[in-house]
């Protein structure tokens, strides 16, 4: 057994608990005597039973930030508990936009370093060892946190698998985690939300992901990727090159700064395989790549590599799949 108490941050989307939080709870169960979940936003009690089923002994409600960005208020609430001596030995945070904001603020407030890009956690005596993908995930560094706790870990989604267990009977108790003094740090406000229309499965949950890159040559050619994804019941994805170029929205991006995906099949079309892209997809169970350059790095991870032109291979693939359905 590693540490006494771990807090897992639960960032909900549309009120629902995302897989990333359940992965962290699952891992935390094996590393600490007590695991507690920290959640915020409206109606935290609604998800208490689900969090309990994954091992949370209590759910701490950091309050509803309303229209504020969550970094300052959530970090403030956790820091206030630590200052009162009620803090945990470690805090696990999923590497999302808001997760990184909370981690950065918490680190500075507590004067503790934050350990980022974590892909593994192990017990080490009465402490924790963390594993990090470095150099784009080609090497794994193992590090030990040496200071006074809490240790702060920002973990890449899909580093662990989520399984229910360790729960108690019924929903765990929900306790308030009062916010600390936020000074002038909490003045950024969301005035409008914009959601991009997407049909089909979510990119990071899809069983098949078809991604396109700069090798498609033009934004119009991305229609092939959309069509293939639809035919395979999967989700379309993209490299950063074509997101930056404005061909597809950012929500499509796979990689270091985008989504981490772990589908049964990942089909990479016209993508070179930069380390920052691969870190988001190299754990797919099967990888198929189409690239006209036989030396493209993507072929080093592909189970099936097609050296060919996307404009020749993909239309035929689409026809063949249509013919079957």
């Amino acid at each position: 057994m590693g540490v006494d108490k771990i807090w897992v941050l639960v960032e909900r989307a549309d009120g629902k608990v995302p897989p990333a939080a359940l992965e962290l709870l699952t891992r935390a169960r094996d590393l600490a005597t007590t695991v507690e979940a920290v959640a915020w936003g409206p109606d935290v009690a609604a998800v208490a039973a689900e969090l309990g089923a994954y091992g949370a002994a209590a759910v701490l409600d950091a309050g509803d930030p309303g229209d504020a960005l969550v970094g300052a208020p959530v970090a403030g609430a956790i820091a206030a508990a630590v200052a009162l001596g009620n803090g945990p030995d470690a805090v696990l945070i999923a590497a999302t936009y808001d997760g990184r904001d909370i981690a950065g603020r918490l680190s500075a407030r507590l004067d503790r370093p934050v350990i980022t890009n974590v892909v593994g956690l192990e017990a080490d005596g009465d402490g924790l060892l963390s594993e990090h993908g470095i150099f784009g995930g080609t090497q794994v560094a193992t590090a030990r946190f040496t200071g006074a706790g809490p240790a702060l870990f920002v973990v890449r989604p899909k580093s662990f698998s989520a399984e229910p267990g360790g729960g108690s009977e019924g929903a765990p108790q929900v306790r308030p985690l009062p916010s600390g003094d936020l000074g002038s740090t909490n003045t950024a406000a969301i005035v409008a939300h914009h959601a991009e229309e997407r049909t089909g499965p979510k990119l990071d949950e899809a069983d098949v992901v078809v991604s396109g890159g700069r090798g498609l040559g033009s934004a119009d050619a991305y229609a092939m990727i959309d069509e293939l994804a639809k035919l395979l019941g999967g989700a379309p994805g993209a490299s950063r090159a074509i997101v930056d170029a404005g061909w597809v929205p950012y929500a499509y991006q796979v990689g270091q700064t985008g989504k981490t995906v772990k589908p049964t099949v990942y089909l990479a079309c016209g993508i070179s395989g930069a380390t920052q892209h691969m870190v988001g997809m190299k754990n797919a169970k099967n990888i198929i790549a189409v690239n006209k350059d036989q030396d493209a790095p993507i072929f080093t991870v592909a189970d099936l590599g097609i050296v060919g032109d996307v404009h020749k291979v993909l239309p035929k693939l689409i026809e063949a799949l249509k013919a079957r359905s």
Binding site: L69, G71, A72, T96, Y97, R100, G104, R105, S107, A108, R112, P113, V114, T116, N117, I134, F135, G137, T138, Q139, V140, A141, T142, R144, T146, V154, S184, T185, T187, A188, A189, V191, A192, H193, H194, D207, V208, R240, D244, G246, P249, Y250, A251, Q256, T257, T264, I287, Q294, F299, T300, A302, D303, G305, I306, V307, D309, V313, K316, L321, R324
Partner: protein, 259 residues
């Protein structure tokens, strides 16, 4: 409006990276360049200062060995002045120690708006800027894909999982920008010449009033105990398309029962 931009100077990403065998820190010797990720912040700052009808852009960097080449690039793009913090005591600094140094330098610059990139190319912790904001007691808006300044507040389109949020925030504030927020300009010949005589202040940790024990390897609270190659995937079958490679893909999808 005065804008400060944190810019990291990094080893050329095209060159293979290396770790010091003893300290297991990234080796950062030799010539450094302006991190591409930060060229977006520099461009954004120049455009915002211009749109506000004046004000200076200051670029701030912490780097070893008195390195200034990346700062010169930013000056050549049009920044007015630069602050470099370089000190042997900073070797082995983690993100929080870096943030303490940058925060002290930002304070000196007297900026109304601080820009940084969402993450650097070589370190990619992505936490340094928000740590700077917290140390300065500033609000922050991360992952900006569009930034405008309207008098005393900044308006940001912030990327989200679902799309983007429109966020407003009073100045002073810190904003991190994504690649693609603006198209960075190339320094002109005139810009490169002008950069040579622009003010570049070089400071030590002591100049910033920071205790050397708090930063660098002395202040780090994490030790790397092992570095090993990640499990490599066995490379698979390679098929050169002769007009029928799609059939091999269909076959594989079939075997995997996804069709």
């Amino acid at each position: 409006m005065n804008v400060a931009v944190c810019v990291k100077q990094i080893p050329d990403p095209a060159a293979p990276p290396a770790l010091d065998p003893v300290t297991k820190n990234l080796v950062r010797t030799g010539k450094l360049i302006l991190d591409d990720s930060d060229s977006y912040g520099v461009e954004m700052a120049l455009q915002l200062a211009e749109a506000a009808g004046g004000g200076e852009v200051t670029v701030i960097s912490m780097a070893p060995g008195g390195e200034t080449s990346g700062l010169r690039t930013a000056l050549a793009m049009g920044a007015a002045k630069a602050i470099l913090v370089s000190d042997d005591a900073l070797a082995g600094s983690d993100a929080l120690a870096t943030a303490k140094v940058l925060a002290a330098a930002v304070r000196r610059s007297g900026a109304d708006l601080v820009l940084a990139a969402t993450e650097s190319t070589d370190g990619y912790t992505g936490t340094t800027p928000v740590q700077v904001a917290e140390l300065l007691g500033l609000p922050s808006v991360t992952f900006a894909k569009k930034v405008t300044v309207d008098g005393s507040s900044v308006r940001v389109e912030r990327q989200t999982e679902a799309g983007y949020d429109e966020v407003t925030c009073p100045l002073p504030a810190l904003v991190t920008v994504t690649a693609g927020v603006v198209e960075p300009r190339y320094p002109s010949f005139k810009g490169i010449m002008a950069a040579k005589s622009k003010p570049l202040e070089q400071l030590t940790v002591a100049d910033l009033g920071i205790d050397a024990g708090e930063v660098g390897a002395a202040g780090a609270r994490q030790v790397v105990v092992d570095v090993a190659a990640a499990e490599a995937r066995a490379s698979g079958e390679i098929v050169v398309d002769e007009g029928d490679a799609h059939e091999r893909i269909v076959q594989m999808l079939d075997q995997l029962k996804v069709i």
